[in-house]
């Protein structure tokens, strides 16, 4: 019988929810790192006991936590042991320094500020951690102000993948309401040299050479609220999802619009179809059916809650355009929560489990691909992220 482990990041700590493969009875562990913002936790696909967590605070900055036992115990790599006499302290797992070396060939110094002026890059926090598909010690981190970092030593040290900021469009990147954040990192198991990332509000970018060179992949996006609605840069991409069995097909929840690409982002077309509103944050793809997609429509950019007081997940079984509301077990009156961009996940069991967390502190699970839902927990702090591990 498989074990399912749901990793939940919240405004005030992390929680780990575990169940057997039936996904009916859950144990709740936490809060871990009580009082700290946990933007994201994610386990290594190679070693599921290895979990990385982004812990941050407006007062004390960024910390990186790592567990080697499935979340029972944690340490800050390099910060867990007292140095020997005469040794300089390490504590570098939370050190994210932008690369300004001559090798990049670019002065990676400023991006566009809210008022259109140029503003220095300033590290604030790690939004997303994406462990390597092949090495438990290698992890990518998407940070604010937007950049991609990588560790190859289990999070002891981090180095910028500087080709992303250095490819030339960086000065046009502008923060969205949540900050200039790199929030999506997609690795492709069929092509280790390919990485897709997304930044709010700059757009999506892809490398096909392991991070050395990058290019924007935003053709087909249309954002009428920016000076040039069809610009190469400046779109507020909220999240991108992919089914690993079909890596050239990407689904995107943009600020407004649900989009699809059939060529790894080279071009996009809208698949919002009959959604009641195509604003939203979270999007994910069924683990076994690459044309089955899930979104949670949010009323508008000014009203970040579900429509009509009803919490409805929408599912398309046709790769977009035709959507059906999924409501069984979800509140259908007086509900005004939001579901943030990293707060939806799918497991790899059969039937596929779908999970999402809300800003009201609920984490819901559907053990049958969305047909029926039940809360795992109802009263956590606001949920920032949800990931799931299915452990044989």
């Amino acid at each position: 019988m498989s074990e399912v482990r749901v990793l939940v990041g919240t405004r005030k700590g992390a929680f780990i929810l575990t169940s057997d493969g039936k996904r009916q009875n859950w144990q709740v562990s936490g809060p871990h790192f009580a009082g700290w913002e946990i933007y994201h936790l994610k386990g290594s696909p190679v070693d599921p006991k290895r979990i990385y967590a982004s812990q941050s605070s407006g007062w004390f900055g960024q910390l990186l936590q790592r567990s080697d036992d499935g979340g029972k115990t944690w340490n800050t790599p390099g910060g867990e042991k007292l140095p020997k006499p005469g040794e300089f302290p390490t504590g570098t797992s939370n050190k994210f320094v932008y690369d300004t070396s001559a090798e990049t060939g670019k002065p990676l110094t400023t991006h566009q500020w809210y008022d259109g002026t140029q503003h220095p890059w300033e590290f604030k926090r790690v939004w997303h951690l994406e462990p390597s598909l092949t090495d438990p010690d290698t992890v990518y981190a998407g940070v604010e102000d937007a950049a991609l970092f990588r560790t190859t030593d289990g999070a002891h040290t981090w180095h910028e993948v500087s080709g992303l900021r250095g490819h030339g469009t960086g000065p046009k990147w502008q923060p969205g309401a949540g900050g200039l954040c790199l929030h999506t990192i997609i690795l492709d198991k069929s092509n280790p040299q390919r990485i897709v990332i997304a930044i709010s509000a700059a757009g999506s970018f892809r490398t096909d050479d392991g991070g050395k060179t990058w290019r924007p992949i935003n053709k087909g996006l249309h954002s009428p609220y920016i000076p040039d609605p069809n610009a190469e840069i400046g779109h507020c991409v909220h999240h991108v999802a992919m089914n690993p069995s079909r890596p050239n097909v990407l689904f995107m929840q943009k600020h407004w619009d649900v989009m699809r690409s059939d060529n790894a982002g080279d071009s996009w077309h809208e698949v919002s179809g009959n959604l009641p509103t195509d604003f939203g944050f979270a999007i994910d793809v069924h683990a076994h059916e690459p044309d089955t997609v899930y979104v949670v429509p949010i009323k508008s950019d000014g009203e970040h809650f579900v429509m009509d007081g009803k919490l409805r997940v929408y599912r398309s079984r046709s790769g977009g355009n035709e959507w059906e509301p999924l409501t069984k077990g979800l509140p259908q009156r007086d509900c005004y929560v939001n579901i943030l961009r990293d707060a939806m996940a799918v497991d790899s069991l059969d039937k596929c489990g779908i999970y999402f967390g809300t800003t009201g502190g609920q984490v819901y699970c559907s053990a049958d691909a969305g047909d029926n839902w039940a809360p795992i927990v109802r009263d956590l702090p606001a949920v920032l992220s949800v990931e799931v591990q299915a452990i044989p």
């Binding site: 867990e80 007292l82 140095p83």
Partner: protein, 98 residues
């Protein structure tokens, strides 16, 4: 012996309760105290002062002997009562809701 009071979040991070006591050779300043703190508790690196700029995080303040020392120079001597251990150096997080 220098006495330092950390804010609760950092006490949890460093796995200490109550005051921290530090031996400091040489002048007792904000910089030498934070250096000694980071040497004893590497997990605190980057949490009191920025890794790169080495400046105090904006939502943290240094108090001692009823005075706000936050804007003193990092290498300015701390009050004699702190240097002697009679009074602790308080590292205080700004009070804010949420």
């Amino acid at each position: 012996m220098i006495r330092v009071v950390l804010p609760p979040h950092l006490r949890g991070l460093a796995k200490v309760s109550g005051e921290v006591e530090l031996e400091i050779a040489g002048p007792v300043t904000q910089r030498s105290v934070v250096d000694a703190l980071e040497a004893r508790y590497p997990v605190l690196c980057g949490t009191i002062r920025d890794h790169v700029t080495q400046t105090r995080r904006p939502f943290l303040r240094f108090f001692a002997c009823g005075e706000d020392l936050s804007h003193e120079q990092p290498d300015a001597p701390l009050p004699a009562a702190v240097a002697s251990g009679a009074e602790p150096l308080l590292i205080v997080g700004a009070i804010a809701g949420g």
